[in-house]
């Protein structure tokens, strides 16, 4: 489990660990074909098609030329294999570039330029400024005398700010020349993929003294793919190389996500398969019976008296082949094609470009656009997702005195400025903590301005605010911090940094005042992490109140505290801390424990309040999506009150009396259980009441609830449309997603930061906001958008259209395959159940791959309703959510249609072309023409909007059908020679075709018209309204409809509702959410009041 890296030992490690040759390739030249084929054939559909194709090689049973299956099959395989090969070739090229990059490596004591792939574990590597790091290194030296270097980790975690890395203490002060000869051993764990941890030890060998073990952390490493910045040079020991680097280990192929629609299509395919088997068995038996009773008498068929043992199987197998086209081979290709086009439409959408940064939306996962239209739950992060994550310091409370309460901006509060200039010690301390208790790096531009590189937006806000209050953090030189206060420079030496973790919820620094040598502990953190560890004598009530008051306003609060440390106390603790830092097992936990020993008896200095403004359009987006029947859960790491305030201000929940918040809390199992039961009870009662009920749970209670009362909590999750989960950890976010997914809900998780990554990956659809917290979430997500408000368009426009289009496309694909298959089956009844194919191989192949695929592909441009209408009536999304357009019953409709059309085509062709005209090729071509004509009309009837492309595709396809067949009719060696010319000259051909069209389409048009006019769906009504133009605007204002109507309509439903929803954990397929949905739209009066109060306070803030 451990690896020992011997520094600069050229021999030993060479064979033990792999070299630095990066390989991202899936294939090699040799294994490409077998491996790729194996991968493709691991899918059921492909196995099926291969089986069919193989059976067709047996001439005794094949009804058509094997080429009719092999052709498309090989084509499909070739397409996906070429795509894979191309991707792999590109990976190979980029690998090659990385591998052949030259880097300076110490070999036998001399620095040499070596190709990156020849680096071995234990080599010392020299990097210069702006070099890319070729493998994972442990730093041993930098150009900086303090041993600091700066790296950019954008490629690793997407964070664009610079991070500092330091050399281990043991290597401090070694001359750069001596670094060539350094020897030692690094004891480090086996390669893993945690890019935030590196728990290792370093021991240098004599003569490099210091025989002590020196602990190493991630701070001492620079990982592959990072860039060295602002540092002249750095050198390090390679510890992980090649594919064993942290980055290499992180690399994994994410599980492909399957949409609900894909699952449904698979299910339907399965049903068709079963149907096919039944048909085959029935016809196979019938065929054998007919053979034995009738065909033996048909002397011209010359059945042999004696038959081989497999004779009985031959007819069923023939029918299997004949029916194999029931499952369309083209559906997979068509779907892949249209799906990638959906994704492209998202990428291209001009209205989803973030104008501020110019970032367009991007669909990383091209396969799941339909799922967007079926979302039932949205789990959203708060900070940076709903809010802008642009932190602005607004208010503070220093030692009980509130600043900024009047103006809404503490920085403009004269009293605070007065306090600063009068050097009130409390205020000075407060500002000092603000300025230096952080991990911010000040940078000087060429013009001398200072700007800050901060990992946390809060810290950034605090440092900026401190600077505005004349406490300017000027410079950070290794461990020395420089602060300018009113012209005088104060220096602090940082002794230790006790880092922020989400468990500790606070961070501290231990600094030494360089002037008087006092050692100070400066701490900042969440109120519940700081206030309990205040020194016993201090009154914390004022701070509690301040926190309360600020979070009521939706502000983020931090408590600042400090304590002076005694020299010996620090020394003693420092040893413990060092020890904890060098443990290999449970280091994080040990450190937290040690930190706790120091962080006590703090003197609370005050509370800061930072504002994080809501993003534009968030309330509108949430309202629209809630009207669309989507349930919202807010998962945040923030405090309860802050979360609730933000929730109120963005329409997430309604205030009393319309809305009701139910609290689940408790510290022990029992308390949580009681509170859970209470909430559940209320929830059950109120489901029948028109009330907007939401529950609030915090991380601690959630953990208990999920652990012990999962069932009850699941029920609660189903009952509640809205939930606020505060103080939750990233893994809890993922657990909640998991919980909702386990109830068969379609979940969408949206977030912007690294803490949302797990939730995003877990959810059916992950949406990342490419925001200020880096691109980590956006990278992990299926879709990345610039602003939260684009979610509305993403779901209502792109998701909905994708769903509708795929629903049509997939069912149509089955319809056309079934159509031709039914005709074949009918034909078998008049051909002695012997498995003759009516159509020739060429027609069959072209039918599936060409004639019927092109027109339907342009249905990706179809829009049933215009974007504006959908935006005005988000409720229409219901049809997609509930899967109304693709389910067994709609499929049954298409199945019936194909059966009906098959009967029409078959009956008309064999009767019109009877007796002397019943020539095989001619009848077959008449029937095929009938099918093609019907296809054109079916697509026309099902298309809602015709663009020029659709017209070209539909009618051009029909023309090309004739064109292609004329070409084949002109080739003397083809079986179809002259057939099409003959037919086109016959009036009876044209009359037959038109008869087929009229008889086939008449009933369908009549039925559709009847439904459309007398049993219209909401979609139809909106279509009509849209078309008639006028009333659409008055329709759009459906929300301000007089309330009595709403109430009247709601009341009868609400009685029946609990029945629908309560007992079973049913997905939202039932129509139940409507009651409450209507109330979400009919906004109560007092709600507006609250909102206006809130917004006025916000606008006041904005004014400043």
């Amino acid at each position: 489990m451990k690896r020992y890296v011997y520094i600069n030992d050229d021999e030993s490690a060479r064979d033990l660990y792999c070299d630095n040759c990066i390989s991202n390739r899936k294939y090699t030249l040799l294994n490409f074909i077998p491996k790729n084929l194996w991968e493709q054939f691991s899918r059921f559909m492909n196995q099926y098609f291969l089986l069919i194709a193989c059976l067709q090689l047996w001439p005794l049973i094949t009804p058509v030329n094997p080429a009719s299956t092999w052709g498309p099959l090989i084509f499909i395989f070739a397409v996906s294999a070429t795509k894979e090969a191309w991707d792999d070739y590109n990976r190979y090229l980029s690998d090659k570039k990385a591998n052949e990059k030259e880097v300076w490596v110490v070999m036998h004591g001399i620095r040499k330029l070596v190709q990156a792939q020849d680096i071995h574990v234990g080599n010392i590597i020299w990097l210069r400024e702006n070099d890319e790091v070729p493998c994972d290194l442990v730093l041993i030296g930098t150009s900086d005398p303090q041993g600091v270097c700066y790296i950019e980790t954008a490629a690793l975690d997407g964070e664009t700010d610079l991070k500092t890395r330091v050399i281990p203490s043991a290597c401090m002060g070694i001359d750069s020349e001596l670094l060539h000869k350094i020897k030692g051993v690094i004891e480090c764990p086996s390669p893993d993929k945690d890019i935030r941890r590196f728990d290792a030890n370093l021991r240098l060998f004599p003569p490099f003294l210091d025989n002590d073990v020196c602990p190493l952390t991630i701070k001492n490493t620079i990982l592959q793919s990072c860039y060295l910045r602002n540092t002249e040079w750095a050198c390090g020991v390679a510890v992980y190389t090649g594919n064993e680097t942290k980055l290499g280990m992180c690399r994994g192929i994410p599980e492909p996500k399957l949409t609900a629609m894909d699952a449904m299509i698979d299910k339907l395919t399965g049903a068709i398969f079963v149907f096919q088997i039944v048909v085959v068995i029935v016809l196979g038996i019938a065929g054998n019976v007919w053979k034995d009773t009738e065909a033996r008498k048909q002397w011209y068929v010359k059945y042999p008296e004696e038959s081989p043992w497999f004779e009985l199987l031959i007819i069923p197998l023939r029918f299997e082949l004949l029916c194999s086209i029931m499952i369309p081979i083209s559906i997979k290709v068509s779907l892949d094609l249209v799906k990638s086009l959906y994704a492209k439409f998202i990428d291209w959408d001009n209205e989803m470009i973030d104008q501020e940064t110019g970032t367009p939306s991007h669909a990383t996962n091209t396969a799941i656009s339909e799922d967007l239209g079926q979302v039932e739950y949205i789990l959203t992060d708060k900070t940076g997702t709903l809010t802008e994550n642009k932190m602005i310091f607004r208010r503070c409370c220093i030692n009980g005195v509130f600043y900024g309460n009047d103006s809404g901006d503490a920085l403009k509060d004269v009293e605070l400025h007065n306090a600063v200039s009068s050097r009130s010690p409390d205020v000075i301390h407060f500002l000092t903590v603000m300025a230096i208790c952080n991990t911010v790096i000040p940078m000087k531009t060429k013009t001398g301005d200072i700007f800050y590189k901060a990992q946390s937006q809060d810290e950034d806000a605090l440092v900026h605010a401190a600077a505005r209050l004349h406490m300017v953090f000027v410079n950070k030189n290794a461990n020395i911090l420089e602060i300018k206060f009113n012209g005088s420079t104060i220096q602090y030496e940082v002794l230790e940094t006790l880092e922020f973790t989400s468990d500790r919820k606070r961070m501290s620094v231990v600094v030494k005042d360089c002037q008087n040598g006092k050692i100070l502990l400066l701490t900042k953190g969440a109120d519940e992490a700081i206030l309990p560890i205040a020194c016993p004598g201090q009154q914390t009530r004022a701070f509690f109140e301040a926190v309360e008051q600020y979070s009521q306003l939706g502000l983020r609060t931090l408590c600042l505290a400090w304590r002076q440390l005694k020299e010996d106390e620090y020394e003693e603790w420092s040893l413990l801390f060092k020890e904890a830092n060098s443990t290999l097992v449970d280091r994080e936990w040990r450190i937290a424990e040690v930190c706790q020993r120091l962080e006590h008896d703090l003197e609370i200095l005050g509370v800061t309040a930072i504002e994080d403004r809501l993003q534009d359009g968030v309330p509108e987006t949430i309202e629209a999506l809630r009207k669309a029947g989507i349930n919202f859960w807010m998962l945040t790491g923030d405090k309860k009150n802050t979360a609730i305030q933000i929730a109120l201000s963005c329409n997430f929940i309604s205030p009393e009396p319309k809305g009701q918040l139910l609290l689940i809390d408790g510290k022990t199992e029992d308390e949580v259980r009681q509170s859970l039961e209470r909430v559940l009870l209320t929830m059950r009662i109120t489901t029948s009441e028109p009330k907007d009920v939401a529950f609030v749970v915090d991380g601690w209670a959630l953990e208990i609830a999920l652990k012990y009362y999962r069932k009850a909590f699941t029920e609660l999750a189903i009952l509640s449309r809205t939930a606020i989960c505060c103080r939750v950890t990233p893994s809890q976010k993922a657990q909640l997603v998991e919980l909702l997914k386990s109830c068969d809900y379609r979940t969408l998780a949206i977030g912007d930061g690294g803490n949302d990554v797990r939730m995003i990956q877990q959810a059916d659809i992950g949406v990342g906001i490419s925001g200020r917290e880096g691109l980590q979430a956006a990278r992990a997500a299926d879709y990345s958008i610039g602003k939260f408000r684009f979610l509305k368009r993403l779901i209502l426009v792109h998701g909905r259209y994708s769903y509708n289009r795929t629903a049509f496309l997939s069912q149509y694909s089955f319809y056309k395959s079934l159509l031709i298959c039914f005709i074949q089956i009918f034909f078998s009844f008049i051909s002695g159940v012997s498995g003759t194919s009516l159509f020739n191989s060429l027609s069959l192949m072209a039918y599936n791959v060409f004639y019927t695929s092109i027109p339907v592909l342009v249905s990706v441009l179809d829009k049933d309703l215009s974007e504006e209408t959908v935006m005005q009536h988000p409720q229409i999304l219901f049809y997609c959510q509930a899967g109304r357009l693709l389910n067994p019953s709609t499929f049954a409709g298409w199945f019936g249609r194909s059966l009906f059309h098959a009967i029409v085509v078959f009956v008309i062709s064999i009767h019109a072309y009877a007796y002397e005209k019943s020539e095989m090729e001619e009848v077959s071509m008449v029937a095929l023409s009938g099918c093609i004509w019907l296809q054109a009309f079916v697509v026309t009837l099902e298309t809602n909007s015709f663009t020029i492309l659709q017209c070209i595709a539909i009618w051009g396809n029909l023309a090309s059908f004739y064109f292609i067949n004329w070409i084949f009719s002109a080739i003397p060696s083809s079986g179809m020679y002259t057939i099409m010319f003959r037919l086109c000259r016959q009036p009876s051909y044209w009359t037959t075709v038109f008869l087929i069209v009229a008889a086939g389409m008449g009933p369908i048009l009549a039925l559709k018209y009847f439904r459309y006019t007398y049993r219209p769906s909401k979609i139809n009504i909106l279509q009509q309204a849209e078309r008639l133009g006028g009333p659409i605007l008055s329709l759009g204002s459906i929300e301000p409809q007089p309330r009595p109507i709403l109430e009247k309509e709601v009341s009868p439903l609400s009685i029946t509702q609990p029945k629908n929803r309560n007992p079973v954990y049913e997905p939202l397929l039932s129509d139940s959410p409507n009651t409450r949905r209507s109330f979400g739209s009919g906004a109560p009066f007092d709600f507006f009041q609250t909102q206006s109060r809130l917004s006025s306070s916000y606008s006041r803030n904005k004014d400043n």
Binding site: I22, E132, A154, K297, Q298, W299, Y300, V301, Y303, K344, W348, D349, N350, E351, G358, T359, Y801, S831, G832, L861, R884, I908, I910, H911, Y915, E916, S918, M920, E922, V923, T947, P972, Y977, Q986, P987, S988, T991, L995, G1002, L1005, Y1009, R1011, Y1012, T1013, Y1014, R1015, P1016, S1017, I1021, L1022, Q1024, E1026, R1027, L1028, L1035, V1050, L1053, D1071, N1074, S1078
Partner: protein, 350 residues
Amino acid sequence: MMSSNTASSSAAVAGSADSAAPRRNSKKPKYSRFTQQELPACKPILTPRWVISAFLLVSVVFIPIGVVSLFASRDVVEIVDRYDNDCIPDNTTDKVNYIQTPGDKSCNRNITVPKRMKQPIFVYYQLDNFYQNHRRYVKSRSDAQLRDNSSASDTSSCKPEDMYNGKIIVPCGLIAWSLFNDTYSFSRNSSQLNVNKKDISWKSDREHKFGSDVYPLNFQANGTVIGGASLNSSIPLSQQEDLIVWMRTAALPTFRKLYGKIEVDLEPNDVISVTLQNNYNTYSFNGKKKLVLSTTSWLGGKNDFLGIAYLTVGGLCFFLALVFTLVYLVKPRRLGDPSYLSWNRNPGGR
């Protein structure tokens, strides 16, 4: 993964080198109506007026066509004479045995012409319950062999009628082997009616499908099991028109094949006596044999189906148009009425 890394890093480098503005522009997708899904589109909806007029139009077009085709079909004079049973001597019990034993099987039939038949009069033979579309049968042929002398040995698809005693059969296969071999000769008022057997097959078949250098070889050489007609081995296949007609397999178990053409007009009440050789075995599978004399129209032979179907469809469309109109008048329904757009109802009401 790696490629994305390099891509992002190169983008980062480019970003730092360039100013922010051009990068913003380059990232923006190019605007076009297609990419924005804003192509101008026509959105027809099913308004009552549109649907009713469509149905009316169909009925207005279809009913006349139906009438015309029905008249065309009725104009055709067709004489069908089933002879398979009547041409067996009355005392025969085993019809199959009778037909299979060689001997003179000639038979005389008299047909009365009901109406004036204008020339050309097509002579067909009609077989019922004969599965020319049976899979074993329909596949048992070799197009290459028929077309070209050089591929005479290409008989693999012809099983079980491909070889005789190791010698290639030309034309091979079950279809050719079972060639129809009843013959007819016609006389009117004891004067011979000439049956033109020239050009009864498709011209394209004679020229391209059946080679002029392919001669029958070992055909029906198997003395014990004789299928149908034998062929004169000195005449090339391209001139064996009966074979060419027969080889155009029928898609239905009831079919007619052209036997020849009578190129004189027949007057009403003419009695035509047919002398036929009843050779072909349809008795073992209860198939019927019929002799058909028929004139033709622009739609082909006598077939009422199209006419009746057109009338039916046209009538139904008219009926539907009428019903929809009535419903529309009795119970008018405003399209896009917002009062139907209450979201509180069951949205799936359809």
